[in-house]
Symmetry: C2
């Protein structure tokens, strides 16, 4: 169980937003759920995350046990990241956000398909 | 349907986060779902939102059709805010966030009860 050091209140909504309540974190989690694992892959997503923001968000996700570093790719020597079980359990939050966007925001398209499991 | 002026991509997750992806907006929506309607009531929530941030978030929510100003309270002459149907449809997102927090973050407590309808 995570215990963020600075919590604003004991409210589960507030505490969850302390972890994922920004414009970028859930996009990194979306990418991980869709099978991306390398830093350069996250950078290529259409939203154009800045590398310093990406590095910060990945580090925070690792610190909070939502993401783990997998063994590096031997050929490229690039780190790989993957969701932990706890990170995967954010799937319901991601799905609810995606579903709301598709129903309420004109011109949105579900181009990415989350991987099962 | 909302069409944010600056969208990062057509992804429904990204576009939804453009509207609600910050540390405060969903807390205001939580308070509205729990029956709060006045500026001073949102200010009294335990997270201690700053008045300038609250004013900004309420204005954005009104601009995007998620919240509407109701008739002022005649006695106090204070504005009242309420969720539109579109705002109420964020209930599934709020519930998913709350559920995840309760299951994964130690010491969180569901003290507030959303109103039905």
């Amino acid at each position: 169980m995570t215990r963020p050091s600075k919590r604003r209140s004991p409210c589960p909504v507030s505490c969850t937003l302390d972890l994922i309540g920004d414009k970028w974190t859930m996009l990194v989690i979306r990418d991980l759920m869709c099978g991306k694992s390398q830093f350069v892959e996250f950078c290529r997503s259409p939203e154009g995350i800045a590398t310093n923001i990406l590095a910060d968000r990945l580090q925070r996700l690792v610190e909070h046990g939502l993401v783990e570093k997998a063994a590096s790719d031997e050929e490229s020597r690039r780190d790989r990241y993957r969701l932990t079980a706890k990170g995967k359990s954010l799937r319901a939050v991601l799905d609810a956000i995606a579903h709301w966007g598709l129903a309420n925001i004109e011109g949105t398209e579900a181009r990415l398909k989350p991987k099962e499991g």
